[in-house]
């Protein structure tokens, strides 16, 4: 690698890192140096071709501190885990979980520079282990309080589903109040042999937030992971899932719906590595993009040598709702085994003119008809979300998006 004079963001973060280093559990120097060696990725890095972190790297953020005053809204009265500014709030949580206690686990610091930054600076996080079948969804709230210094909240979390365990975990990301802040988090997911996890993420950060979340996942034999993400908030957001499937017969489903407008950028990046025979992966991402917003989808399926009978499919569809909206998609297949069924599809364009005409010819005004079609388009991702607070919350956000005249 060619040495660069000033890597974006490094010096400011070094200062911040040194200021909190003593309070962090574990030894973090190596992780920070792994970040410092590369800095914030630029557009020249292939994985960040479409999402520029330049403005983020220029901004100065202070490490967020625990906030004991924050009023956190909940979806319901079910079991919950609450984190504020990246710190676990046991007083607000109703599920007893372990704290994350220092660097280990799957998200190694030598991968993405931002994961290394998280590994260096994360001060807290939850570690949830599911050993039995849990019927009631567990709500996990990641709340961040913006502040004048622009806090950076970095938590490191882990969900483990033991053999025979099953659960539905809802991770919500919210900003409490207006102002800039930066969330750089990691949730590691491990579903062991025969375990089942439904993981739903509702990203509803503040309008000036930057949200980067990295989800390394591992699926054991016959494990099932269904992960769905709804993205509405943040000025810039990236949800990056890297699923490793070493388990035969595992089933992975990744779904996403996003609605962005103004100058938002929503990036959904996934990488699925099939390393064992007979596993299945399904991906469906749908986005409605208005204003001058941008949608980014990068999906990567790898089928390693020997992962025969792999069944991997990927679909990405985007609706461009305004003249200045933009979508960039890169669905990649990388296949080293012959007995496989893999495909991807991508579409981009405006609302279907024929469908619009059909509705208008039946007396439905243009705006309402468009709204109806956008709702229908996104609702595919909502299909398997049962009636309840989560579904209502997502629907309200879609309505809000449409009412704002995206």
């Amino acid at each position: 690698m060619t040495p660069q004079v000033a890597l974006p963001g490094v010096e400011a973060y070094r200062e911040a890192f040194e200021s909190i280093r003593a309070s962090l559990p574990g030894e973090r120097g190596a992780a920070f140096e792994a970040f410092a060696a590369r800095g914030f990725p630029t557009n020249r890095v292939e994985a960040w071709k479409y999402t520029s972190l330049r403005p983020l790297a220029r901004q100065r953020f202070q490490p967020a501190a625990p906030d004991m005053e924050a009023a956190v809204p909940f979806l319901g009265d079910g079991p919950r885990i609450v984190l504020v500014n990246g710190f676990l709030r046991e007083d607000l949580s109703t599920v007893s979980v372990e704290r994350w206690t220092g660097p280990d686990g799957m998200a190694e610091a030598d991968g993405e520079p931002l994961v290394a930054l998280n590994a260096a600076m994360a001060g807290d996080g939850y570690a949830l282990t599911v050993g039995e079948v849990r019927d009631e969804p567990i709500e996990i709230v990641h709340a961040t309080v913006p502040g004048p210094a622009g806090p950076v909240a970095q938590s490191r979390n882990r969900i483990t589903v033991e053999p025979g365990g099953a659960a539905h975990v809802i991770e919500r990301h919210v900003g409490l109040g207006s102002g800039a802040y930066f969330v750089n988090g990691v949730t590691e997911i491990e579903v062991r042999d025969g375990g089942r996890l439904r993981h739903t993420k509702l990203q509803d950060e503040g309008a000036d937030a930057h949200h980067l979340w990295f989800v390394p996942a591992r699926l054991g034999r016959d494990a099932v992971l269904e992960s769905t993400v709804f993205t509405f908030g943040a000025r810039l957001s990236r949800n990056q899932i890297e699923a490793d499937i070493p388990g035969e017969g595992a089933e992975l489903s990744l779904r996403g719906a996003y609605a962005v407008s103004g100058r938002q950028l929503a990036d959904h990046t996934s990488r699925i590595e099939h390393r064992a025979p007979g596993a299945t992966s399904r991906q469906v991402y749908k986005g409605a993009i208005g204003g001058q917003a941008r949608g980014v989808f990068q999906g990567h399926i790898v089928v390693a040598e020997g992962a025969q009978k792999t069944d991997g499919h990927q679909l990405n569809r985007a609706l461009l709702l305004s003249g200045r909206a933009e979508i960039d998609a890169k669905p990649v297949l990388e296949i080293y085994a012959d007995d496989v069924q893999c495909s991807h599809g991508a579409t981009a364009g405006d609302i279907d003119a024929d469908a619009l005409f059909y509705l208008r010819s039946r007396g439905i005004p243009a705006d309402a008809a468009r709204g109806l079609l956008v709702r229908a388009f996104l609702s595919e991702i909502l299909e398997d979300t049962p009636e309840g607070a989560l579904r209502t919350a997502v629907e309200e956000r879609i309505d809000g998006f449409l009412e704002a005249g995206a």
């Binding site: 200045r324 998609a329 991807h344 981009a348 364009g349 405006d350």
Partner: protein
């Protein structure tokens, strides 16, 4: 001694002892000394008696090239290439300046016959004009007179530089500038020959234009430069076919093809590429780093690329369309077959700028043995591409468990009214189909060839007749040894 050879010797003398190792003139070729520097660029330009502006252009390209590094983003393992360890100019031996085929070196003609390029037969039967390139210098051009009648110019580019400098100067580098990419820049500095086609306004080229490229002398990089210009409402179909004999050392090939289509013009460019792919252990074979790009400048213009890529050890090639014109059309039909240790990273770029521009991409990749076959494509809708349309389909077929098939599509849309659709699949040969064929007494290899031909049919049928037959055979031959 031929005129070219005499010139070569004269050049050496005039350049003095800088070339102390002289030229290898022993067997069949006249060669410039090994290596690449400004003097070699000047030498190539001088031997071709080029005007000052072209020499300057070459030198600018060369200087720019020295600041560049080889691209490494493709999914290819490219061995280190020593650009100083190659010859940048070699001319085939000619006994006399040929006025007709009879005067062409019979040894050359015999080689062509082996390759299945019967010049005479083609001249008489197929009605195809062949501008055969043998190691960088065109030796025979047929049907010239007939084309001239229609006002079509079809000649080696070096001839075009002499006879039509205004056209060459206007269009050379207009689609692929000399700064474009490492290999195109190298080509701009040292290109030795290639074809030039100019179809004037309203003319429908009366025959398919065809060129056979062939790499012959060991260690000779081929740097062809092709420029095709179709004026308003004209049509031309251009065929390019390549074969190369067995050899062990890697050979570098960095061609540039530029197409320009003005209002209502249509250019159809077909390629069958069957260069030496290396042996079954991956030893030897051609490195094929090609920059092909067409500009649909005019309204309602159309450029269609069809390629059958079965040869070369490494293929790096992305025939592209720049759709400037309103209602312009770009097409890309491709079959890429890799076997043994071959590597291919190929695809297209469709850049939509004009309103209602349309593009269609059909790519079929077949990977066997230990080969790696990647489709890499870009579809870009710029803000001006109102109501533009793209449809892309790339299918990959895997034969054997040691090969790889990859798809890297890039889809970028900045226009809401533009529609982009992309589909890709990867699978293996259907066992049922194979069983069906076997059950009817068709051998396994033959059955695979049959099924693969069916898989590629959409692309094969885009080829002109003469090529389609050859290409179908090629599909079967390329996969020999991949089953069983």
């Amino acid at each position: 001694m031929s005129r070219v050879a005499a010139e070569t010797v004269e050049q050496v003398r005039s350049l003095g002892d800088r070339y102390k190792y002289g030229f290898v003139t022993d067997i069949e070729s006249e060669q410039a000394p090994k290596g690449l520097n400004e003097d070699i660029v000047r030498f190539i330009s001088a031997i071709k008696d080029e005007p000052e502006w072209l020499l300057e252009w070459r030198l600018e390209a060369f200087r720019h090239w020295q600041t560049m590094t080889e691209p490494n983003w493709a999914k290819l393992g490219i061995p280190m290439i020593d650009y100083q360890d190659a010859y940048y100019y070699s001319a085939p031996k000619q006994k006399e300046g040929p006025k007709s085929l009879d005067e062409v070196d019979p040894e050359l003609l015999a080689t062509y016959d082996k390759l299945g390029i019967p010049l005479r037969e083609q001249e008489m039967l197929a009605g195809v004009a062949v501008d055969a390139v043998f190691d960088s210098v065109s030796v025979a051009t047929t049907f010239k007179a007939k084309l001239e009648e229609h006002g079509v110019i079809f000649c080696p580019i070096s001839e075009a530089v002499q006879n039509h400098p205004e056209l060459v100067r206007k269009y050379l580098g207009s689609v692929v500038p000399y700064t474009d990419n490492f290999f195109a820049t190298l080509n701009s500095a040292v290109f030795t020959d290639g074809s030039f086609v100019f179809v004037p306004k309203g003319v429908r080229c009366p025959m398919e234009l065809s060129t056979y490229f062939r790499i012959n002398a060991a260690n000779t990089g081929q740097f062809e430069r092709t420029l095709i210009i179709a004026e308003d409402s004209s049509y031309v179909s251009y065929l390019e076919g390549c074969t190369a004999p067995m050899r062990d050392e890697h050979q570098l090939h960095a061609a540039v093809v530029e197409l320009v289509a003005l209002d209502d013009a249509e250019i159809k460019y077909s390629t069958v590429q069957n260069w030496y792919p290396g042996d079954e252990n991956g030893v030897g074979g051609i490195f094929n780093f090609v920059t092909k790009r067409g500009a649909c400048i005019g309204a309602r213009s159309k450029i269609s690329w069809t390629q059958v890529e079965t040869g070369s050890a490494i293929t790096w090639k992305y025939p592209s369309c720049m759709l400037h014109g309103a209602d312009s059309v770009g097409e890309f039909y491709s079959i890429a077959i890799t076997n043994n240790y071959q590597q291919a990273d190929t695809g297209t770029k469709m850049v939509h700028m004009g309103p209602r521009s349309r593009s269609r991409v059909i790519s079929k990749g077949i990977s066997a043995g230990r080969a790696s076959n990647a489709y890499r494509g870009l579809v870009k809708m710029l803000p001006g591409a109102a109501s533009a349309r793209n449809y892309t389909q790339c299918d990959s077929l895997l034969i054997g468990s040691k090969c790889g098939a990859h798809t890297f599509p890039y889809i970028e849309s900045q226009n809401r009214s533009a529609r982009v659709e992309h589909e890709a699949t990867t699978s293996k040969i259907d066992d049922d189909q194979l069983f069906y064929c076997r059950q009817r007494g068709i051998g396994e290899e033959e059955a695979v060839a049959l099924i693969v031909n069916g898989f590629c049919r959409e692309v094969l049928q885009q080829l002109p007749m003469e090529f389609a037959v050859e290409a179908q055979k090629l599909v079967g031959i390329s996969l020999e040894g991949s089953v069983g």
